[in-house]
């Protein structure tokens, strides 16, 4: 995995005002046969994005040239369903750095953080405000500042929560394996005690 950092981002956004978007929509199971992490972005939201002949569906937002950006704004309970990390890989590979929603499924949230894709949970009211603003004016920019844990739309902002350890990892570009390997002695001592 390529280790990255996330500190601050100001960018336009892509609106997807659908609730309960599950990981089978984000990346259908038939694309999970790859053995590497790359290239999943091509099939992100595949069955919403393309018809059965593989032609882009004009009414899907990723095919609408009006909208682009590094932030995906989606309806409540984003990423529910399977544990496939391929969902986070495909969103990240497509070029998104942040997903904004009013609620995230647990496993997806963890997978996103492990791939330097920042899930930003906002209130339902603020989510609707952001969606309206972006839908009405595609050049609307959002600013996400991880250090201060804030997301801003114009002069309105909201704070979001993130686990302190994961925040440190994202800000500095650390990943969990290095940290866990540094604990080898403690883990071995635990095993001795547990036996």
């Amino acid at each position: 995995m390529k280790v990255e950092k996330f500190q601050k981002l100001t960018a336009t956004a892509v609106p997807l005002p659908i609730e309960n978007i599950d990981t089978d929509q984000i990346i259908p199971a038939r694309f999970l046969k790859a053995t590497s992490r790359e290239g999943f972005g091509d099939n992100l939201f595949c069955d919403w994005r393309y018809d059965s002949a593989g032609n882009p569906k004009a009414d899907f937002v990723l095919n609408n040239p009006k909208y682009s950006g590094e932030i995906l704004v989606a309806g409540r309970n984003f990423g529910c369903g399977s544990s496939r990390e391929h969902a986070a890989w495909s969103i990240h590979d497509f070029g998104f750095k942040v997903v904004v929603s009013s609620f995230f499924a647990d496993i997806f949230k963890g997978n996103a953080l492990n791939n330097f894709l920042l899930p930003v949970q906002v209130s339902e009211e603020f989510l609707q405000e952001i969606l309206q603003a972006v839908i009405n004016e595609p050049s609307t920019e959002l600013t996400i500042d991880l250090e201060s844990q804030t997301i801003a739309l114009g002069n309105k902002s909201e704070s979001f929560s993130i686990d302190g350890y994961k925040k440190m990892c994202l800000l500095n570009g650390y990943d969990d394996i290095d940290f866990l390997l540094s604990l080898k002695d403690k883990i071995e001592a635990f095993e001795q005690k547990a036996v």
């Binding site: 599950d22 647990d106 997978n111 969990d176 940290f179 604990l183």
Partner: protein, 464 residues
Amino acid sequence: MGKTLFDKVWDAHVVTSAEGGIDVLYIDKHLIHEVTSPQAFAELEERGIQLFRPEKIMATADHNVPTWDQHLPIKDDLSRFQVNKLTENCAKHNVELYGLGHKYQGIVHVIGPELGVTQPGMTIVCGDSHTSTHGAFGSIAFGIGTSQVAQVMASQCLLQNKPKKMRVNVNGVLAKGVSPKDVILYIIAKLSANGGTGYFVEFAGNVFREMSMEGRMTVCNMSIEMGARGGMIAPDETTFEYVRGREFAPKGEDFEKAVAYWETLPTDNDATFDLEYSYDAADIEPMITFGTNPGMGIKVTENVPTEDKFSGQESFDKALGYMGFKAGESLINKQVNFVFIGSCTNSRIEDLRLVAELVKGRKKADNVNAFIVPGSKLVEAQAKSEGLDKIFAEAGFQLREPGCSACLGMNEDKIPAGEYCVSTSNRNFEGRQGQGARTLLASPLVAAITALEGKIVDVKAYLN
């Protein structure tokens, strides 16, 4: 203050706590399969990291394997490559593999329990969200992503924030024809597809105490479908008797010692939960889903609702549009051409026996394509030794070979676009069983009756 079952198992596995209060949780058993492990093996190899405790890993091939002619090479190039990669990785890193052709091969959440690998009080993870199944034994079991698969391979530990605790109580007497699948579909319909997010759930009450281990597994399996990381049921005599004598269970004196510890695990009387719900068993009826998430469930005899109390109208209308159902209509008499009995939710011997008992001496409806995919080679062998294969064949049901099959349609077992499938699996998402496929989740009993009738019928009336 007393501790919950969850607290006791969690606290016994905390190695240390890191910055911000996140716990380093020790993992007793790591289950892997062909789909979510290759990138983890690759990552460790790239970084020059050895597997820390390969003996604590069990591997099988289940997600994309064919359910016909498993003795032949897999036809699909990508599937074959992925399954071969698992074989190669396991051989290279000394991981025990029950691959295609092995007498123990099967769906990872079916073989763990039946081999005695799954035991009370353990922490168990797998790169698959239905790992929650193993919570039926009073273990903490949950699904993880591939980066975490690599973390466990490297350190046998995971960094985890302790989730909140929920208890769902169901007491009373279940009516005839109401199965564990109906109980969990009922609970999810009450709490919604995200009602359990952030929580670990304990299922309590006489309904669960009186369930078989197979039934408990069906319930815990679907905890993830209400967003919970996992579900648990306190271990008791039923649990101990199930585990006793299985291949990898402790034996003799070790088993007695283990039982003495397992008996200390149930939730203390004075322990508290962050959230608690209670339901009356008498209110539960045979269930079926009408929408595109498992929270969209109704009693078979109920009408499709006109709105969803948990989501916006736009998302609700989109779901009904996909399913081809109208708000307020009844599902009774809807023609169904596909019936799938299988998956980590309902592919155990108890499920197959129940279906066999119902269809014995009868025939499936002509319009129906009905197939049964056993959860493992052991389930398949048991079914054959009991003569269930003949009953299925006479009734026109195909008995296939083990795998995840049409639950997620990674292999050839797909439902055609636009077709309805009454399925004993766990997810009714758009396209889950194949592009455009329309899934109706139900119990094995409802599925079998649908296959015989070729349409959805009032199960209660049917049984009387």
